[in-house]
């Protein structure tokens, strides 16, 4: 099958869209890992930079939107090109939301005390690292167009749910030990929930990648981990 379009500029536009998405993905990865690091080290110095960098993620979203609008109006993409374009639109929305959640977590660092229990920090770290890995894997599945990898990420969210449940229990423990911990705990509940939500956006991306490759929607029920009740 010929890989390229007869119209070279069309080919270039699709390639530029693909490149933008990969750059946005990589920037979002950095945001997620930086904000996790800031949380578990309670590093109040680094948060300002993370909050500011979210602007860059948002700018990519606008850039990708414009690229997609131009493609739709100029090329009326069909078949695989249509699916690439629409998937890029959806993936960029999810990446932007993941970026927002990372920013939100960075914001939660400022009020935290420096002496949080180690077990609590470790449980947040385990959850955060898993979310980071899920994000990396889903972006890999997009780049390599791998159905298997996208499916593995989709199914992997079950573990994110479990670790969320675990981290939430740690936060509850912390809260129950001293009433003074209430305000801190509220922030930590948000941090945990934000990580879990980022995981959900990652599964959305996995679904978009699956649709892009197969031209069909992922069917069946996604395995769910433990429900977390606060």
């Amino acid at each position: 099958m010929p890989d390229t379009h007869i119209v070279k500029s069309y080919e270039e536009e699709l390639q530029l869209l693909h490149d933008s998405l990969i750059q946005m993905g990589s920037l979002t990865e950095t945001q997620v890992s930086d904000s996790l690091e800031a949380v578990i080290k309670v590093d109040k110095e680094s948060t300002e930079k993370i909050i500011k960098s979210d602007e860059k993620v948002n700018k990519f979203r606008t850039k990708i939107d414009t690229q997609i609008m131009n493609l739709l109006v100029k090329r009326a993409p069909m078949a695989i090109d249509l699916r690439s374009t629409i998937s890029a639109l959806k993936i960029s929305q999810d990446l932007e939301r993941i970026g927002d959640l990372a920013k939100s977590n960075a914001r939660k660092v400022e009020p935290l005390p420096l002496d949080l229990p180690e077990s609590l920090l470790q449980s947040l770290k385990r959850l955060g690292l898993l979310v980071q890995k899920q994000l990396k894997d889903v972006l890999d599945s997009y780049v390599t167009k791998s159905v298997d990898k996208s499916l593995a990420v989709w199914k992997g969210d079950e573990k994110v749910d479990d670790l969320t449940h675990f981290a939430m229990n740690e936060v509850m423990d912390f809260l129950s030990k001293d009433k003074k911990n209430l305000a801190f705990s509220t922030h930590l509940i948000f941090v945990t929930k934000n990580l879990e939500r980022a995981g959900d956006h990652i599964t959305n991306i996995a679904e978009s990648v699956y649709y892009l490759i197969k031209g069909d929607y992922l069917k069946g029920h996604r395995p769910k981990g433990k429900e977390t009740q606060v």
């Binding site: 379009h5 069309y10 078949a79 695989i80 249509l82």
Partner: protein
């Protein structure tokens, strides 16, 4: 409105123009009251295919048709079939609007007169009005029915040809690139008309516009070098075709 009944069925259809084979073993079932779009590069056989449905190829001496085409399970190439009656049942609209060099009124009245469809002047007036209304042209021409059909704009002429095609109450309408000579507004009017007509007629349209095929049809067939490569729902063909050749053609990668 929708029916699953097969209206037109082509079996092992092979068509030759002299030594050159134009269609190879085309097997295709077209359903009643649906719009089927036929797409493919120039010379792929899509026009040849639709010209077989009303035996337009009969007028070409060197053309030979093998295999069968059935409409309502009747073989249209059988000796018992009167080709004039066949074309009463299967109307056609061409790429370039080709009104008769007659008045707007007579363009519509011509075929019903031949086929003895209207009994008197009143009936005929009513029939002309109905056809022009169905073709969304009535309001534009009702005060100038005696002017020549050729005095109309291109888009109006094409709608006149559609009105003429439906004047004898056909069951099938064949359209060979009906909008390729029209501006976007006239094209939109024809597409709107196709949408309205499909409740009543079985429509087969040849088009080079992928976007048009998506807009107007429920089924799409892709032809290449005389072969039907892929046939399916329009949604499937344009979102996720099964055949790589179809994908390369509709995405503009064709080698």
């Amino acid at each position: 409105m929708k029916s699953n009944k097969i209206k037109i069925s082509s079996k092992n259809l092979n068509v030759y123009y002299g030594q050159k084979q134009a269609l190879f073993d085309v097997n295709l079932d077209l359903h009643e009251k649906e719009v089927t779009a036929l797409i493919g590069p120039s010379g792929c056989g899509k026009s040849t295919f639709i010209r077989c449905i009303n035996r337009m190829n009969d007028v070409i001496d060197i053309c030979k048709v093998e295999g069968t085409i059935k409409i309502d399970e009747v073989d249209i190439n059988s000796k018992k079939i009167d080709v004039v009656q066949l074309r009463e049942k299967v109307g056609m609209v061409f790429q370039k609007p080709n009104p008769f060099p007659k008045s707007i009124y007579d363009n519509i009245a011509y075929a019903p007169t031949i086929h003895g469809i209207a009994q008197n002047k009143n009936d005929m007036d009513q029939l002309v009005e109905n056809c022009l209304k169905k073709a969304a042209l009535w309001n534009e021409v009702k005060d100038r029915l005696n002017e020549p059909g050729t005095s109309l704009s291109g888009g109006q002429q094409q709608r006149l040809c559609i009105a003429r095609a439906i004047s004898v109450n056909p069951e099938v309408i064949l359209m060979d690139e009906p909008c390729s000579a029209l501006d976007p507004i006239a094209t939109a009017k024809i597409e709107e008309l196709i949408d309205e007509l499909r409740g009543t007629y079985t429509i087969v349209i040849v088009t080079h516009s992928m976007a048009q095929a998506v807009r107007v049809s429920q089924k799409t067939g892709f032809f290449h070098l005389g072969k039907l490569i892929e046939f399916g729902t329009t949604e499937k063909i344009f979102k996720n075709p099964s055949n790589n050749m179809t994908q390369d053609y509709i995405t503009g990668r064709f080698g």
